[in-house]
């Protein structure tokens, strides 16, 4: 144990002295969080809207104001001169065009003076919305956001005591009530970053000791390979915890991702997950001779599966069968379920034990294989 402490301390010294590893360990997670956080923003906002107003009453300007003041729509950037909605969309000046035909002012006035709710259905006034369907998600969103706004206009203009007739759906979304994609992505991002950084740094540090011959020197001393592995892991577990806290901090305080579950539970599973990643790093270092190869190997083996096959971006149940099977050996798959569960749903161990068990199993297997290969490589 005593020896392990000294190797771990020495490792810490290497980390502190090598600016590259510090950059990878601290700066990269921050950059990745910001980059992903903004780039993979799937919330549909700021739909560029052009308005063609034939009505030109206070009612129409109120309506336009409501559109532009909502967070969903923004003004089409270019000044729009043409009155042809198709032309506007073709030229890419806007994603959607709202056409307010004459008569809106009148219709609103009728609404205000209404006596009998039955009359509501008699007078019809139609607004036109022309949408660029190239982005199907955006087109659908523009439609539903518009109807929300219009419904609100009607409600606000009805005389007091009147209610809108008809059946309404009272929509309630659990776990991610704002339907924000960052809530979904940040936990996944933590999984990707922890996996990548941990595997990368361990595989490189071991490859470096092989490259410079210090590993050989170390192996002529009474230290056993197992002790070397444990000692090598310790500082990187610490570093990974630090990374986890940084990314989590960004997620919660910058992107406003909720964290309603148990910190302790996340910590425990986080450490297990990091050990899995470290084992992968060690495994890679046993297969390569240089630091460069170790770095590339670690990137390929960890980042690709953690991003593509973990449910981070693509839903696993929509994948081809063969890929679905492969996802079972991707540690990030389990950890993403665990961290999303803990952060967004406040899931407890009763709900997460299956994923937890799989993760632990995977950790044990990888660790055993890595240690074995490490010992063999020594001979």
């Amino acid at each position: 144990m005593y020896k392990i402490k000294f190797i771990a301390l020495k490792e810490l010294r290497h980390i502190m002295r090598d600016p590259r590893s510090l950059v990878i360990a601290i700066l990269m997670p921050i950059l990745m969080t910001l980059l992903y956080g903004y780039a993979i923003n799937l919330d549909i906002k700021n739909i560029k809207l052009a308005v063609i107003d034939f009505d030109k009453t206070s009612a129409s300007s109120d309506l336009i104001g409501r559109f532009y003041n909502s967070e969903y729509f923004s003004k089409a950037t270019d000044q729009v001169y043409i009155d042809d909605p198709e032309m506007i969309l073709k030229k890419g000046q806007a994603n959607a065009v709202l056409i307010i035909g004459p008569g809106l002012g009148e219709a609103i006035q009728k609404l205000k003076n209404i006596q009998n709710p039955a009359n509501l259905m008699i007078d019809k006034y139609e607004l036109g919305l022309t949408v660029d369907g190239a982005d199907a998600n955006m087109a659908a969103a523009a439609g539903s956001y518009s109807s929300i706004i219009v419904t609100q206009v009607i409600k606000d203009n009805l005389p007091p005591g009147f209610e809108l007739p008809g059946i309404r759906i009272s929509r309630q979304v659990f776990y991610n009530p704002d339907l924000k994609s960052s809530h979904f992505f940040v936990p996944g991002l933590i999984a990707v970053i922890l996996m990548m950084i941990s595997a990368l740094l361990t595989s490189v540090t071991i490859a470096r000791e092989k490259e410079t011959g210090t590993m050989e020197q170390l192996l002529t001393t009474p230290i056993t390979p197992r002790q070397i592995i444990i000692a090598k892991m310790l500082p990187y577990i610490g570093l990974a915890i630090l990374d986890g806290i940084i990314v989590l901090g960004f997620g919660v305080f910058h992107f406003g991702v909720p964290f309603i579950g148990s910190t302790l539970l996340l910590f425990v599973f986080g450490v297990i997950y990091v050990i899995t990643a470290l084992a992968i790093g060690i495994l890679i270092s046993t297969m390569v001779k240089t630091q460069l190869l170790a770095m590339m190997g670690a990137m390929i083996v960890t980042v690709l599966p953690a991003v593509m096959l973990s449910g981070f971006i693509f839903e696993i149940k929509n994948m081809p069968m063969i890929l679905q099977i492969i996802t079972h050996i991707v540690p990030a798959r389990y950890f993403i379920l665990i961290i999303r569960g803990i952060m967004l749903k406040g899931s407890s161990i009763e709900l997460l034990w299956v994923e937890g068990l799989f993760l632990i199993l995977l950790t044990i297997v990888l660790l055993a294989v890595a240690t074995r290969r490490f010992k063999l490589g020594v001979d």
Binding site: K3, H14, E216, Q217, P222, D379
Partner: protein, 248 residues
């Protein structure tokens, strides 16, 4: 007197290539043994097998009375190894390197401190102690590597070309130190390409293409082959062998 190193028909093959071919020898305790041979003769490979870094293909061996297959862990406690290639941590200072190796052998802090002081005094390392190892001049790096390999006072010390790239004055000093160690009972197993150094050895072996082709006391060998010095002897033995090989 028990033997420090015994080797019996030790062999290492890399695929089809036999790097070490059934070598046998014994080295007594406190002996300074010169393990000579041309480039690629198999010296480093043989030493790595003795230090537990490489598994032999066949043959037997003991180091410090311990079997090289079974008692690897015990061997590691009693040996020191200075490899042919500088292999300390370049980003750590000389002092930190020494401290690290001392602590790996579980020496007490006080003991490590005293030994670092004493060794750096003897090796003229004092002023370089707080420089990063990779920034030391070559000769000083070798001194540091020697210091690191003897800090824990091993019973048997394997030195693979310890004086490569070191100036003649320091080489002399280096060998004086080795003799002091041998006087205190340390067994030395040394490879070198400097024949003047080989003459300092109690016994030498000469390796060629993985085999030991001569073994004995340097002056006995010089007499046997009627050569003026070891250098001539070495050149003649190796070139004879090469010619024979070419004739076949």
């Amino acid at each position: 007197m028990p033997d420090a190193v015994t080797i019996e028909k030790l062999t290492k093959k890399f695929g089809d290539f036999t790097a070490v071919d059934q070598i046998s020898l014994t080295v007594g305790e406190g002996e300074v043994f010169g393990f000579l041979g041309a480039n690629g003769a198999g010296k480093t490979t043989a030493i790595r097998m003795l230090c537990g870094l490489l598994l032999p293909t066949s043959g037997n061996g003991t180091v410090g009375g311990f079997d090289i297959y079974r008692d690897n862990e015990k061997i590691k406690k009693s040996i020191g190894y200075m490899s042919q290639k500088f292999s300390l941590y370049g980003d750590l200072t000389a002092y930190e390197n020494l401290w690290f190796y001392g602590s790996v052998y579980q020496l007490k802090k006080k003991v490590i401190k005293d030994r670092i002081n004493q060794l750096s005094e003897e090796l003229g390392l004092k002023e370089f102690l707080h420089r990063q190892a990779e920034k030391l001049p070559l000769g000083w790096r070798q001194r540091l590597a020697l210091a690191a390999s003897v800090l824990h006072r091993p019973k048997i010390l394997f030195l693979d070309e310890p004086t490569g790239g070191v100036d003649p004055i320091f080489r002399r000093r280096f060998w004086e130190m080795l003799y002091e160690l041998a006087d205190k009972g340390t067994t030395l197993f040394v490879t070198t390409h400097y024949m003047d150094e080989a003459e300092y050895c109690h016994r030498i072996s000469i390796m060629h293409h993985g085999r030991i082709i001569e073994l004995g006391n340097p002056s006995d060998l010089i007499q046997k082959y009627q050569q003026p010095n070891l250098e001539e002897l070495f050149v003649q033995l190796i070139s004879n062998r090469s010619r024979e090989a070419a004739d076949v």
